[in-house]
């Protein structure tokens, strides 16, 4: 696949992350995650085209079904069920979020991280973006108070790590990837059940309000 197209895809991924940080609506966050997952699926499909490994095609299929379709549907149902349309609770204000995102991107692109981003020199630009997306996903988990946003942050982190390992040459066997996706599938179901239970118990998904869990 053309490197420019790959860069474009990674650019889309980066932007979805920025969008996830800025959006105030849970539904839009779910859509952004879906787009991000679609990007990863395309990248995996590219791997299949290059290797002709049919197991990878299975991975692509599972990724498409679970990450792009099922997971967003689950979240949309949750949003409807508990009327969680808005997700505005963050620890930092929007300008500060943008500043931190810039700093994290700067760190990922800095010379200090060259040993990590130049594992495969041809993919340095892609790896730098992937690293910055990893940092931003972590920051998303930290910054958001809503449990749903945090779950999307974790799933987004998984996507960004996957993007990094594909272009760093650290890709594992398709069997392992299928296992990871299956694991995620189970994880999403469990997380959804937990979210429902948490909402029933606390009447909110704002984690800072769940004081009763503290000792």
């Amino acid at each position: 696949m053309n490197i420019l197209f790959l860069k474009f895809l990674f650019g889309v991924m980066f932007l979805t992350l920025v969008f996830l940080h800025l959006t105030k609506k849970n539904f839009l966050a779910t859509v952004a995650y879906s787009i991000q997952s679609l990007v990863i699926t395309i990248v995996l499909f590219n791997s299949f085209l290059e290797t002709n490994n049919f197991y990878l095609l299975l991975v692509v299929f599972l990724s498409l079904v679970i990450k792009v379709i099922i997971a967003p549907i689950f979240f949309t149902n949750l949003i409807k069920k508990h009327a969680l349309a808005f997700s505005v609770s963050t620890y930092f204000s929007t300008p500060l979020i943008l500043i931190i995102i810039s700093i994290l991107t700067f760190i990922a692109y800095s010379d200090k991280f060259l040993p990590l981003t130049s594992i495969i020199p041809n993919n340095q630009a892609l790896l730098s973006i992937a690293l910055s997306v990893i940092f931003m996903s972590l920051f998303l988990i930290i910054n958001r108070k809503g449990a749903l946003s945090q779950i999307i942050g974790i799933l987004s982190l998984e996507n960004s790590i996957l993007a990094f390992i594909i272009f760093a040459g650290l890709e594992q066997s398709p069997g392992l990837q299928i296992g990871v996706i299956f694991n995620m599938f189970i994880w999403i179901i469990i997380a959804s059940v937990f979210i429902s239970m948490i909402y029933k118990h606390f009447g909110t998904l704002n984690v800072t309000s769940m004081k009763n869990l503290k000792d």
């Binding site: 991280f113 940092f135 988990i141 910054n143 958001r144 945090q150 984690v207 869990l213 503290k214």
Partner: protein
């Protein structure tokens, strides 16, 4: 012949005997008698094999090294190196284990149906096996594994009598202190690995020049704390007076006589053998620690009423004396006086052996009394000599040996320690003389106070009239217990009588270490001549002392029987007590005995005296009915060291608790920040 008796196979056979003993007693744990038999049988056989193995190694002067490669790790190897120093410690371990195991056959019977004897046998054999591993391991990681097995097995033996909550507390304290010590030992090995790139002792020794002096100094401090905690040096000794009394008596003997010596072994191995050359201040610090430990150890022993705690404090004192020899050896070697260093090391090794013997004897004798009296408080004893005469004799021999009275073994090792210290005063310049004078004075004080303490202990326990009704119902210990004690008492005499020959062997052990290979002897020794210090500086002959003492004893008996009492009839009457009935109130108590000395050292011991007076008429307060004086001694190391340390840790813990906000976002941010810092520092 040599190849037959000292191959590596025989050492594995030796270890496997203890392993079989451990497993078999565990298998038969439902039957106490069989478990006791199996545990004791294998530990006795193993100890005998250990004695044979170590004696043959020392006599033939052979070193043994072998490695079992562990394929999954480059730095972990099961490697052994048994030189004469290791063989000497195997000898001590085997000797004490042998007599403790014989003693244990009878002693364990009072635990039947109460606790599992099989479990005891498992940990007991495991402890002896691990002790052997500790003194033979030649790889840092392997050594730490052996060290941990030793610590854990001894912990389970300390808390064996688990229905007593004090024992559980003592075990907990022991476990904490052990792990504090282990942390420092691990740190020191990691420092060494950083510069040498290997945990093998032989590699460390050959590459020691690669370690910068500042790092070596850190390693020294860490190892002093780590191994000093196990050895029981002040102020890291707090576990010792708590844990030793808690354990069954023959385990106390094994712990006090042998286990704490593993700390001394590693100090000798590291400071004399592996880390050389070393700066002179290392030796000075060890000498100072030795002086403080010996003096404070005996002072605290004097204040004790609990017989086993009293003995435990004497272990601290004797470790101090051992360190006096070691410290002087290190100072002499750093000042390029290897002959004198060998003398110091000899003194240290000799006292290590002697202390193992007489302290085990004392613990076993004390255990026999406790077994009958069911209390450790000596104020409740008195007059026991009438009911347990043999035990009293064994305790007396142990007391005389620990008080360094000739012709028992303790005298000769303390004499050698004095000689090493006196040589420091005689041959070094003014700046070092002061330190050696202080150390020698400390040893002199210690010797005098130890004698006082054992006069008190023996007098209060065995002499005079019983202080409780329990005493009249006690009886002499079973045969196996008396055999165990009797042989140790015999060893106390033999190692005194043959001190010349023993010191010759100790010189040989010292000269086996690479730094003393070309060193001339500073002493000459033989059976008749005893030990002679070079240039006729001093000499002592055990046989001559022995003969003179025998002559004096017979002469005194002769004079009293045939001269003074020749024409006098023996008339047995009750002792006149100024018209009062003689009862326990007329006797001096342990507190009363020690009171004057405690008051002399009140600057250190900080005693508080509580007087409780009961009057016949509370209003007039003229005629006292009874008067109780209680002396409390302030635990100064607790007050000035552990208490402030605990306060600091509490403050830090409270501050650290704030990090635990209960907020998942905060936790993830910690992870994220740590990740960024880790990446920035590594990349």
């Amino acid at each position: 012949m040599l190849e037959i008796i000292t191959p590596s196979v025989s050492f594995f056979v030796l270890l496997s005997i203890f392993f079989i003993g451990a497993i078999s007693s565990l298998i038969y744990q439902k039957n106490d008698s069989i478990a006791n038999f199996l545990s004791s049988f294998f530990s006795i056989i193993g100890s005998l094999c250990g004695l044979f193995f170590s004696v043959s190694m020392i006599i033939y002067g052979k070193n043994l090294s072998f490695i079992i490669n562990y394929p999954y790790s480059s730095f972990f190897k099961i490697s052994f190196h048994i030189d004469l120093l290791s063989a000497f410690f195997i000898f001590i371990i085997s000797l004490i284990s042998l007599f403790c195991s014989i003693y244990g056959v009878g002693y364990l019977k009072h635990f039947y149906k109460k606790y599992s004897i099989g479990v005891f046998g498992f940990f007991y054999n495991l402890l002896i096996g691990s002790l052997l591993l500790v003194v033979t391991a030649s790889n840092g990681i392997f050594f730490l594994i052996a060290w941990e097995i030793m610590s854990i097995s001894s912990y389970f033996l300390v808390v064996y009598d688990r229905y007593d909550t004090d024992n559980i507390k003592a075990g907990f304290l022991y476990l904490i202190m052990t792990y504090v010590g282990t942390v420092f030992i691990i740190l020191s090995f990691l420092f060494i690995y950083k510069y040498i790139g290997s945990f093998e002792f032989i590699d460390i020794k050959s590459g020691i020049s690669l370690i910068p002096l500042s790092i070596k100094n850190n390693i020294f401090i860490f190892t002093i704390i780590g191994f000093g905690t196990k050895a029981g040096i002040i102020p890291f000794h707090i576990w010792l007076p708590a844990a030793h009394p808690a354990a069954p008596s023959h385990v106390s003997a094994l712990m006090s006589g042998v286990m704490i010596k593993t700390g001394v072994y590693m100090m000798i191995r590291l400071f004399v053998d592996i880390l050389q050359p070393i700066p002179v201040w290392w030796g000075i610090l060890i000498l100072i620690i030795g002086s403080i430990s010996s003096l404070l150890g005996v002072l605290y022993a004097l204040t004790e009423h609990d017989i086993k705690r009293l003995l435990a404090f004497h272990s601290i004192e004797n470790i101090g004396i051992i360190l006096l020899g070691l410290g002087s050896a290190l100072i002499f070697y750093s000042l390029n006086m290897p002959e004198l260093a060998l003398l110091g090391l000899m003194a240290s090794l000799f006292h290590t052996l002697n202390h193992a013997i007489f302290k085990s004897l004392l613990f076993l004798s004390a255990g026999s009394v406790i077994n009958e009296m069911h209390t450790r408080n000596i104020e409740e004893y008195g007059g026991i000599i009438k009911y347990m005469p043999q035990t009293a004799m064994f305790f007396l021999i142990g007391s005389m040996a620990i008080s360094a009275l000739p012709p028992f073994n303790g005298f000769f090792s303390e004499w050698l320690t004095y000689q090493a210290l006196f040589q420091g005063v005689a041959q070094l310049n003014l700046s070092f003389q002061g330190i050696f004078i202080i150390a020698a004075s400390s040893l002199a004080f210690t010797g005098g106070l130890a004698l006082t303490c054992f006069v008190k202990a023996f007098g209060i326990i065995f002499l005079a009239r019983p202080r409780s009704t329990k005493v009249s119902s006690i009886k002499e210990s079973p045969l196996s217990m008396r055999i165990g004690m009797g042989f140790l008492a015999l060893m106390s005499i033999l190692f005194g009588l043959f001190s010349g020959y023993t010191s010759r062997l100790l010189e040989k052990i010292g000269k086996d270490l690479s730094i003393f290979k070309d060193t001339n002897y500073f002493t000459s020794a033989s059976f008749y001549q005893g030990i002679d210090i070079k240039n006729s500086f001093a000499s002592v002959s055990a046989p001559i002392i022995f003969v003179v003492l025998i002559i004096i004893i017979f002469a005194v008996i002769f004079i009293f029987t045939f001269v003074i009492n020749k024409n006098q009839k023996i008339k047995i009457e009750n002792t006149w007590g100024c018209g009062l009935n003689l009862n326990k109130r007329a006797e001096i108590t342990a507190t009363g005995f020690a009171r004057s000395i405690i008051l002399v050292f009140k600057g250190i011991l900080k005693p508080s005296i509580q007087n409780e007076v009961e009057y016949h008429d509370a209003d007039s307060r003229y005629l006292p009915k009874s008067r109780v004086i209680t002396i409390h001694v302030k635990n100064i190391y607790n007050y000035y060291f552990y208490q402030p340390l605990r306060n600091i840790i509490n403050i830090i813990s409270l501050k650290t608790k704030n990090i635990q906000s209960g907020n998942i976002n905060a936790y993830i941010s910690y992870i994220f920040i740590s990740l960024i810092i880790a990446l920035l520092s590594v990349l």
